[in-house]
């Protein structure tokens, strides 16, 4: 890759979201704004080797993209009064006077995660326009071909245009639901990095790192939202264990067996601080805050046995009342097995089996197998672990489960 390409990429990484957001407010269409901004990037690649990198590169890109918008309107003779005014202002503007507006970036975040888009499109748009990543980088992180990501982004932009999605933050009546949607997209990106569902790599730290970066950005844009800080806390706390989660041979190491001296203390400190910021807003703990509080119990425990399991059970109970998710119930069972023992835990797990929830997930038989083995019911345990291995999508996970079954 040429030096100028690397420099332009670095500028785009820092300024991309703000350039697209500023242009989107002018043209009212994120897809068009992104195309115009990419055209400006192409101009930068052509011109900067001669002219040098402008002092305010983001302002330069924005001005070029805006001019391209005006040129487009002129060509299509759609330069009505409103656009004439914008064109006039633009001609008078010098490129150092650029004051990007935070609210525009927030509008961009909500648009990239708009519910008219499917999950994959939301993820690709968020990484591309908010995170400032190239399609190549996104493709590499998700282990999919570059054209797949390019097609996803093209389709997403067309969908937003076709649905006439306004470049706005949601109304107060929709705010909390839409914010929840944004947070779930960010967390989805994180968890895909934290426990890759496909492929032979257990962790994709770059992907988790991108989610954290977007999360921190959102915390800066919406500092009064407790769940945003809580999501950042949750991601920091979970990511603090990355180094300890993989053994030297690439196999995953479970929480109980992790070398806690390898946890990233700086990251734990940041996570604890982010949860404290969330709590300090005084609006109670939501879904992410409860999960972060659980992660904090683990992160601050001196050892697996010293963990405050009773506290974790309580947090899972609160979480279960909020979400009634079977995964939460299963996690509660694991915490119960640590605080009250495997018999009480097995009752919860058996109720889950009976309900038919999570029938496709390897997690249920995996936990059940673990509990049965602690109760000395080895034959049943081996069968459960084997069926868990059958269901596991990640090869590393499968290996761990098979090894466990073989060790009984």
């Amino acid at each position: 890759m040429s030096d100028i390409r690397r420099t332009v990429d670095a500028v785009w990484r820092i300024e991309g979201a703000r350039v697209v957001a500023t242009v989107a407010r002018m043209v009212g269409d994120v897809g068009l704004a992104e195309d115009l901004a990419q055209d400006a990037v192409a101009d930068a690649l052509a011109q900067w080797p001669e002219s040098g990198v402008p002092h305010n590169a983001g302002a330069w890109l924005t001005a070029v993209a805006k001019r391209k918008a005006i040129d487009g309107w002129r060509r299509r003779e759609r330069l009505d009064d409103r656009y004439r005014e914008i064109a006039h202002e633009l001609d008078a503007e010098t490129s150092d006077e650029w004051e990007p507006i935070d609210d525009d970036v927030l509008r961009l975040v909500f648009t990239a995660c708009h519910p008219v888009l499917g999950r994959e499109a939301q993820v690709a748009m968020t990484l591309r326009v908010v995170g400032g990543l190239t399609s190549e980088e996104i493709a590499r992180m998700f282990l999919v071909p570059v054209p797949t990501i390019q097609a996803r982004i093209t389709r997403a932009k067309k969908t937003l245009t076709a649905a006439r999605v306004p470049f706005e933050v949601p109304d107060p009546s929709e705010w909390s639901g839409r914010l929840g949607g944004v947070l779930s997209v960010i967390y989805l990106i994180f968890t895909e990095g934290y426990t890759a569902t496909t492929g032979d790599r257990w962790l994709r730290p770059e992907l988790a790192g991108e989610a954290l970066r977007v999360g921190r950005t959102l915390a800066g844009l919406a500092p009064r939202e407790p769940e945003v800080h809580a999501l950042v806390a949750l991601m920091e706390l979970q990511a603090s264990r990355f180094a300890a989660r993989i053994a030297t041979d690439g196999r995953p190491v479970l929480l109980a067996d992790q070398d806690r001296t390898r946890w990233d203390r700086g990251q734990i400190t940041r996570g604890v601080a982010a949860l404290a910021r969330s709590d300090a807003l005084g609006r109670g703990r939501g879904n992410y805050a409860l999960q972060a509080a659980i992660a904090q119990c683990h992160a601050t425990a001196a050892s697996f046995d010293d963990t405050e399991w009773e506290q974790i059970v309580l947090l899972y109970e609160a979480l279960g009342r909020l979400t009634s998710s079977p995964v939460v119930a299963l996690n509660r069972a694991v915490a119960v097995s640590m605080s009250a023992g495997p018999v009480a835990a097995l009752e919860i797990v058996d109720a889950l089996v009976e309900s038919g929830a999570m029938r496709q997930s390897y997690l249920l038989p995996s936990v059940r197998g673990e509990l049965l083995s602690r109760l000395g019911r080895l034959e049943e345990a081996r069968a459960e672990l084997a069926s868990a291995a059958d269901l596991a999508g990640n090869e590393r996970e499968r290996d761990v489960l098979l090894a466990k079954a073989a060790a009984l």
Binding site: A10, R260, T261, G266
Partner: protein
């Protein structure tokens, strides 16, 4: 990857900065810090107090020698740092270039080592011990 931006200024630059209203400096640095925070890249950062509040421990002789104040013949003083998480070296260069510093000041930018730098030594007793020390320090 993580980078540390280490601010170094000459004595003259520090003297000259005293001519600028302090509030102007706070505003410029504040805006810079805010842009780092909002971009989600800032992990840590601190400013250092006047060097005469510090001291130097010199290991030239058998017994370390402690002297008050700044190191005698230095031309550039460290006076603050940031730790950033960026995806490329170029991005770190870009952020460093935006720091509101003037003539006489420099940023020395260094990559912060991570465990991957010690991958060949994970069984080493001292590498493991260092992780233990880090833990203790982090918990204080």
């Amino acid at each position: 990857m993580k980078y540390m931006l280490i601010m170094r200024s000459t004595d003259e630059a520090i003297e000259a900065s005293k001519e600028v209203p302090f509030e102007e400096i706070i505003n410029a640095m504040g805006a810079y810090n805010e842009s780092l925070m909002k971009a989600g890249v800032l992990l840590a950062g601190e400013g250092l107090a006047e060097p005469d509040e510090g001291f130097v421990v010199d290991f030239a002789a058998e017994e370390p020698i402690v002297t008050d104040g700044p190191y005698g013949e230095t031309h550039e003083l460290f006076n603050g740092f940031w730790i950033l998480q960026t995806s490329t070296k170029e991005e770190a260069i870009e952020w460093a270039s935006r720091c509101p510093l003037g003539p006489g000041s420099k940023l020395e930018v260094r990559r912060v080592t991570d465990m991957s730098d010690f991958e060949d030594f994970t069984d080493n007793e001292f590498v493991q011990k260092e992780e233990g020390w880090r833990k203790e320090l982090g918990q204080e």
